[in-house]
């Protein structure tokens, strides 16, 4: 690093700017902020003492990011946007370049300086807006805020007086990228930083500040509530900003020696899972440290749900939500990876979500610890999307968008995870991200139904190809003077063989025209005398009316006899006809083992009935789900 050395204008001691590009240095002797203005140094006065933060870093720590020169922490900037102080560390590389390492809630973001494309001025930036950052891609604005430059340590690459208000816009980009547009104290963008979340291991940082060097916001362990004296157990002292007393409900400021922000003397709502309860979800053991009751108002009625804040020191914070007995485990979602938020859909992690509900949610009760400055009555705009068993949720304030993704958990699983007593309350209704319990089975049933339907159709085609052999055909004339149904008109066919048992199709064909022929018949097995009686009526009528030519009937008609055993048969046929219109004759054809379509159709109906009922139940389930949404299928 190319350094610069001069005398402090306040105390005269030596100040060393280790980076050639550093413009501000806090004098180690007198604590004054010394600005480099060309060859001249100016003192901006003493900076405030460092605010206690739980940072594990300290100036002088060295590291190496893969593919980059080694670095050293040369500066520390403390900022506050009104709800908490966070640290930004200046990394000075061996090649005199620099980058920022932002630290918040135990997470680190490596942010390198990038070319700043033309972007809107600060006042026109809104959460949710898309910003094209050139080679880095299109980012979405997640936070538009103004932070106070509280204090600093070491050196900084800009020349700003401590105490100044700095405008910035945080953005989330594709593939886990983050960006910050620095507006400085004005309205025009001054710098762009692009980076991603990193771990200290990735940065090659082995050395961290000792426990004595780390100053916690509040002392961990057992302390007493300053309002009611009740015992408070602080489980995440590094991260906690607010503590809500579980005994009196008072809201305390963890960043200011548990000063009372809101004094109450009432017992808050008792959570189902007590604070301090531990449970293993995924690969981590989570501790319940906070509990909130939130609600939305719809047509004058408030609908509430419970949220539990979970904490694990290495992974940070997660949520458990309980809505009418339905539970979900909620994790942060990277806003830059949420795509296509339009037309009621959103895409995240290769999954398409459908818009479910938009509402304004309110915090009604809080108990325990929280990593942000929570307060009763806090309002956020919530937009929920669902793709069971997941939901994707965006919570918006005028200056910030926060995305999260929840996954449905069975109540019994929650009880088992946190070793809760008794049985979980039975959930009511259908949760937005609840999976219909038969969904997997239903898919199997639908697939099987298709397979069985295919089998039936294939079988019917095979039967058509193989079955239906003609065993007898014979024509008869009706004696001219015979009376209908008389002995003279009655005939018997020649004997014929039916080789195999099965059904028999008998078809009568007669040249009827605006008349009919009725056959009273019997299929008689000659040796046993067993017979099947049947009748066939052939009729055909035609004419003309105002609609044109009409016809009715046909010159042929068939009938079927079931389960006819093999044997030698004759047909007895006794014809009758319309007196004035004697048909000349008729033809009889007998076929054996003829495939019946209606039977295949009934089989199709039978195998289709079950999946139809399954689909109906699934439909009813989805109806119940969406009846609670902004897209209800029925209006009540």
């Amino acid at each position: 690093m190319s350094g610069y050395q001069a005398s402090c204008p306040s105390c005269g001691d030596t100040v060393v700017f280790s980076l050639g590009q550093s413009l501000l240095k806090v004098c180690e002797s007198c604590g004054s902020a010394v600005a480099r203005q060309g060859a001249k140094l100016e003192s901006y006065g003493k900076v405030a003492d460092l605010i206690p933060t739980p940072s594990v870093l300290k100036l002088g720590i060295e590291g190496r990011y893969p593919g980059a020169p080694g670095f050293r922490l040369v500066g520390r900037l403390q900022l506050d946007h009104g709800s908490g102080t966070w640290d930004e560390w200046l990394l000075g590389f061996d090649n005199d370049q620099w980058a920022w390492l932002a630290e918040s809630q135990g997470k680190f973001h490596y942010m390198g300086r990038a070319a700043l494309p033309p972007v809107r001025e600060f006042a026109r930036m809104k959460p949710g807006a898309s910003v094209d950052l050139g080679p880095a891609g299109v980012f979405v604005v997640t936070e538009v805020k103004t932070a106070q430059f509280v204090t600093a340590q070491g050196e900084l690459p800009f020349d700003v007086r401590p105490g100044s208000a700095l405008h910035y816009v945080d953005l989330s980009g594709p593939d886990g990228q983050f960006a910050t547009i620095d507006y400085g104290t004005g309205s025009g963008a001054e710098a762009l930083y692009v980076g991603r979340a990193v771990t200290l291991d990735q940065l090659g940082i082995r050395e961290i500040a000792s426990a004595e060097e780390r100053r916690k916001r509040v002392q961990g362990g057992q302390i007493a509530c300053p309002q009611c004296g009740g015992p408070l157990e602080i489980r995440a002292p590094d991260q906690t900003q607010r503590v809500a007393c579980p005994w009196c409900g008072s809201l305390l400021d963890a960043t200011n020696d548990l000063a009372i922000l809101q004094a109450l003397n009432q017992a808050p709502v008792k959570p189902d899972i007590s604070l301090g309860t531990k449970g293993r979800i995924g690969r981590a053991t989570w501790t319940v440290i906070g509990f909130m009751v939130r609600s939305v108002e719809y047509e004058g009625i408030r609908y509430g749900w419970h949220e539990y804040l979970l904490y694990e020191p290495r992974k940070g914070f997660r949520w458990l939500t309980n809505n009418n007995g339905h539970w979900s485990f909620v994790e942060p979602a990277h806003a830059g990876d949420v795509r296509d938020v339009f037309s009621g859909t959103a895409r995240y992690a290769e999954q398409r979500y459908r818009h479910f509900q938009s509402a304004e949610a309110q915090v009604d009760h809080v108990v325990g610890e929280f990593y942000w400055a929570v307060a009763r009555g806090d309002k956020t705009r919530i937009v929920d999307y669902v793709a069971p068993p997941y939901f994707l949720s965006k919570e918006s304030t005028p200056s910030e968008d926060v995305w999260s993704r929840g996954e449905y958990m069975e109540p019994g699983q929650i009880w088992e995870t946190f070793r809760l007593q008794g049985e979980p309350p039975e959930p009511t209704g259908v949760a937005p991200n609840q999976v219909w319990k038969w969904k997997k089975d239903a898919r199997g049933v639908y697939a099987s139904a298709l397979m069985f339907a295919g089998l039936i159709l294939f079988g019917y085609v095979v039967l058509l190809a193989l079955g239906g052999s003609t065993v007898h055909t014979e024509s008869f004339t009706i004696p001219p003077n015979a009376a209908p149904g008389s002995a003279e008109a009655t005939v018997f066919t020649q004997p014929f063989e039916i080789p195999r048992s099965g059904n028999v199709q008998i078809r009568a064909k007669a040249p009827v025209m605006n008349s009919w022929l009725y056959l009273d018949g019997a299929l008689i097995e000659e040796s046993s005398g067993d017979f099947h009686a049947f009748d066939i009526e052939v009729s055909y009528y035609t004419g003309r009316d105002s609609d044109g030519v009409w016809t009715e009937g046909s010159d042929r008609r068939t009938t079927y006899l079931g389960s006819v055993p093999p044997g030698r048969y004759v047909l007895r046929l006794s014809p009758q006809w319309e007196q004035a219109r004697v048909p000349q004759g008729y033809e009889i054809r007998v076929r054996s083992r003829v495939p019946r379509f209606y039977q295949a159709f009934l089989a199709l109906l039978a195998v289709g009935f079950w999946p139809v009922m399954v689909a109906w139940r699934q439909f009813r389930f989805e109806m119940a789900r969406w009846s609670e949404s902004d897209h209800a299928w029925t209006s009540e």
């Binding site: 038969w438 089975d441 239903a442 199997g444 049933v445 099987s448 139904a449 069985f452 089998l455 039936i456 079988g459 039967l463 079955g467 002995a487 009655t490 018997f492 048992s501 099965g502 059904n503 028999v504 019997a522 008689i524 046993s528 005398g529 067993d530 017979f531 099947h532 009686a533 049947f534 079927y560 006899l561 079931g562 389960s563 006819v564 007895r572 006794s574 083992r593 495939p595 019946r596 209606y598 039977q599 295949a600 009934l602 089989a603 039978a606 195998v607 079950w610 999946p611 399954v614």
Partner: protein
């Protein structure tokens, strides 16, 4: 549920196969047996009188 459905559908297939093979019909025709005495009588089952109820 899938197993139950598979069993049910296989039963349906079996029933359909049996009905096709054995020639079952939904509505059975009237069946009867011509008595031995009629069959041995002159004209046998071909007698008109038998089919007209002896008239």
């Amino acid at each position: 549920m899938k197993r139950a459905y598979t069993a049910f559908a296989l039963s349906v297939l079996g029933l359909w196969g049996a009905s096709s093979w054995l020639g079952w019909e939904l509505f059975a025709a009237q069946r009867g047996k011509i008595p031995q005495s009629v069959r041995q009588a002159p004209g046998g089952y071909r007698s008109f009188a038998y089919w007209r109820g002896g008239k």
